[in-house]
């Protein structure tokens, strides 16, 4: 379990929802205005239908998207295809060297000439709305006579080498008719059929009671539709269509978890609404993970619930998965050397405030690192962690490191990793709070420094010691002399047979057991003066149960010491990232608890065992990722 240095389990990096190699071209989403030729009951832009962006505004945004280094401009709305500037915008986009895409109800694409014109101007991606496989269902949802045109558009677009997705928004009106849509789309093997939970926003909010289905039902019907679709595709011996889902909690989709599809799997990086001065990153802030989701292994890629849904129905439908281990680190991959001659000293000189932009960068996933005159930009694509988790790791916990090793997975943190911290450049910057920030290397070995506190605790031990998760015995230099002098009597427990076998050779003075904490059987009379759980806490599936067994065995005046690591981000070159992605390490942690999380688990035991905190060190910017919590039992 525990060993000298915490090991990053690098990384099942491929976003499970995305096919590797596809959809890598980064997209900017531009809303051109909110007018529309349909009137969907659920439309999230229902209240702003009167607002249209001007030609000049959209032109300027297309140019800005190119400047930001995007590879595709996608227009949405409202309905972008009803704008007379449509072809002009496609031309402009192509002239800037970018591909062109549309989020559309598809009606205008029923005209073959329109499709031809657009394809000639680098139309490469269409995300088309179709909410039912029949006139009746689709027209009911969009409150227009639109089915024939939208369906014709699918025919016009299919087989043209486009990235073509058909989005079906699910409300109470079509939730029982998803298979009809599958049937209608079976002839189009290159289509991705996506089933999306309706968002309670705009019409979806106004007509909540009328439209909103229970998400558990939606998940059930979506699984049925996908399994039906998969079966039909197999029967027909076709390569598609493929099926995916969006905005449905993954715990409700057992067996289909990896079919999730969202703005990130489509490689959207930024978006801009009418009237906004610059692009913003796409984020998941309209959705929420409930308290119950803590420790759920699916949390990284899971969309959670829409805030509005959660407010009304709560989280009772969710089934967090706590039985699967998850990653404890993620990679930031080098994307671009932004400058080789940066000489700025204060925030006024900062590149982000001078052209690169403050708002377009994701505060968690984009990372600017300055080293002297060089500034590089890194990007974290990992879906092992949610946006909120990544944000907290970067800003609240400050756990970012530059990997200076040549290993697939750094294993000697003190040597392999250099900590990154917010640059002095950011001090006093008016954009500080909304900015992803500039980071700089901190040339101090924070790991060795912070581990000194653990060593101090160990050196003070007297009497009977239980070390749960003793691993390879990293603290031999302190424990051996104490044990040999009879100052402590040591029991080490770890489920890893090899580690225990090896310790048996090395540590004749120790009593060792090869078992997991959950299975540890002790003489009923056995008591301890000190219990240690050193970097093994997050390996415990059910820490509550273990505390419940062990705390009664701690003598009055004895202590419990818990030490563990929070998750961290690793900035790496492209080569390093690629190597890491190829080597699939096993995940070992069930959670990435912080001190606060562990304290919450201890809480209920406080009164019963008279627990009093006697030491703590928390994780923050400029500390290592290791925390320590020590309580006395009275």
């Amino acid at each position: 379990m525990s060993d000298t240095r915490p090991r990053p389990e690098l990384l099942r990096h491929r976003a499970p929802g995305a096919t590797p190699g596809s959809r890598t071209g980064t997209k900017a989403l531009i809303k051109v205005g909110y007018a529309c030729n349909e009137h969907c009951s659920f439309c999230h832009t229902l209240e702003v239908r009167h607002i249209q962006g001007s030609t000049a505004e959209v032109d300027g945004k297309i140019r800005r998207a190119a400047e930001l280094g995007h590879e595709m401009v996608v227009l949405s709305g409202g309905e972008p295809t009803i704008r007379p500037e449509l072809v002009h915008w496609a031309s402009l986009t192509a002239s800037l060297g970018l591909d062109f895409g549309l989020v559309t109800n598809g009606q205008m694409l029923a005209y073959p000439e329109v499709v031809e014109k657009l394809i000639a101007r680098r139309l490469r991606y269409v995300y088309l709305s179709l909410h039912g496989g029949t006139r009746k269902i689709h027209n009911l949802m969009v409150r227009s006579d639109a089915f024939d045109a939208a369906y014709k558009a699918v025919e016009n677009l299919s087989g043209r080498g486009l990235d073509l997705a058909v989005n079906c928004v699910i409300t109470r009106h079509n939730v029982e008719h998803l298979q009809g849509l599958v049937d209608a789309l079976l002839p189009y093997a290159d289509v991705e059929v996506k089933f999306s939970m309706v968002e309670p926003k705009g019409g979806g909010d106004k007509l909540f009671d009328h439209l909103m289905p229970r998400v558990e039902l939606v998940a059930k019907r979506v699984m049925e539709a996908i399994s039906y679709g998969d079966r039909r595709v197999a029967e027909l011996g076709q390569r598609g269509p493929t099926f995916s889902h969006g905005a449905i909690p993954l715990c409700l989709l057992p067996g289909y978890e990896d079919r999730f599809d969202d703005l990130k799997t489509h490689a959207y990086r930024t978006m801009i609404e009418v009237g906004e001065p610059d692009f913003f990153p796409v984020d998941d802030l309209n959705k929420t993970h409930a308290d119950r989701c803590h420790g759920c292994a699916l949390r990284g890629p899971c969309p959670g619930l829409y805030n509005g849904y959660h407010e009304v129905y709560g989280a009772t439908e969710l089934y967090p998965r706590r039985d699967r281990p998850r990653s404890n680190s993620y990679n930031y991959k080098l994307e671009k050397l932004v400058s080789l001659a940066f000489e700025g000293e204060t925030h006024d000189d900062c590149l982000l405030r001078r052209g690169v932009g403050v708002t377009p960068w994701d505060r968690g996933r984009d990372l600017f690192v300055r080293n002297g005159k060089r500034v590089a930009r890194f990007r974290a694509q990992s879906r092992d962690f949610s946006d909120r988790e990544i944000y907290a790791i970067k800003h609240d916990l400050g756990q970012l490191y530059l990997d200076v090793s040549r290993k697939d997975a750094p294993d000697d943190f003190a040597r392999d990793l250099v900590q990154l911290a917010r640059s002095p450049l950011c001090e006093g910057c008016p954009s500080f709070a909304e900015c992803t920030g500039m980071f700089e290397p901190v040339f101090e070995d924070v790991f060795t420094r912070d581990d000194a506190k653990v060593r101090e605790v160990l050196a003070s031990l007297r009497g009977e010691v239980l070390d749960l998760g003793c691993g390879e015995g990293p603290y031999e230099s302190i424990l051996a002399p104490l044990a040999e002098a009879g100052t402590i009597r040591y029991l080490g427990v770890d489920p890893h047979a090899a580690a225990i076998a090896e310790l048996r050779q090395r540590w004749p003075w120790a009593e060792l057991r090869c078992t997991g904490g959950e299975e540890l059987e002790l003489d009923p009379e056995r008591r301890f003066d000190h219990v240690l759980i050193l970097r093994a806490w997050n390996h415990l599936r059910e820490p509550e149960r273990i505390l419940d067994q062990l705390l009664p065995r701690v003598r009055p005046g004895g202590t419990l010491t818990i030490v563990d690591n929070v998750a961290f981000g690793l900035a790496r070159t492209r080569d390093q990232t690629q190597r890491a992605e190829r080597s699939r390490a096993q995940f070992e942690h069930y959670r990435n608890d912080s001190l606060a999380d562990a304290a919450r688990v201890l809480e209920p035991f406080g009164a019963r065992f008279g627990l009093a905190e006697i030491a703590r060190s928390t994780v923050g910017p400029r500390t290592s990722n290791q925390w320590l919590l020590r309580v006395r039992v009275s």
Binding site: A35, C36, N37, E38, H39, S41, L46, E47, R49, H50, S54, T55, A56, D59, G60, R63, T81, I82, R83, P84, E85, L86, V87, H88, S91, L92, A94, S95, Q107, M108, A110, Y111, E113, V114, K117, A120, R121, R122, T134, K136, I137, N139, L140, V142, R143, S144, D145, A149, R172, H173, N174, V175, E176, H177, G203, K206, L207, H210
Partner: protein, 185 residues
Amino acid sequence: MSTDNQTSFTDIPEAVVSVAATDRSVSMVVDSELYPLQAVYGASYIFIDRCYVFIDRPEPGKYRVTLTAKESVEEAEALRQLVGEYANELLSCAWRHQVTQDNRVAIETVTVQAIAGAMGEPSLDDLADFDFTDEALDDPLGIAQSWEDKHGRKSPAEKEQAKAKVPEGEAAEATEAASTEEASA
């Protein structure tokens, strides 16, 4: 040009019909059906730093490319390498030529826009006045009309939405009452 050397070119690249070499130069004959003149020019251009390049047409349907080393070439191996490299270049130029043909419309649009761009960014006023008639789309079915225009209402949404009621037209029968059973057809 002696054809004796031919034997050292047994693995002639596919791009090349035949190869002949002297001690300083090598010439290749390529099929003009397979490789358009533009591709031959394109590939040759890449070599003008390293060799003198001469292109002629020994017979209809064939181009002959002669590469003459600027400094004396030590071994036949170096010449062999030139042929190989040239053939690869030729293939890649031909491919690019083909892609260009396929995307001509797009590229023309792009070029026009790029030239416009070179004259400086248009001002906001220019853009607002931009005439889109060239790029306008025919819409005989009136699809591009906003829902409000088509249904002759200014802002129908508000009232209806509040009451969760359906407007008029095709969809009218549907909406509010449309229970899922009803819609199952």
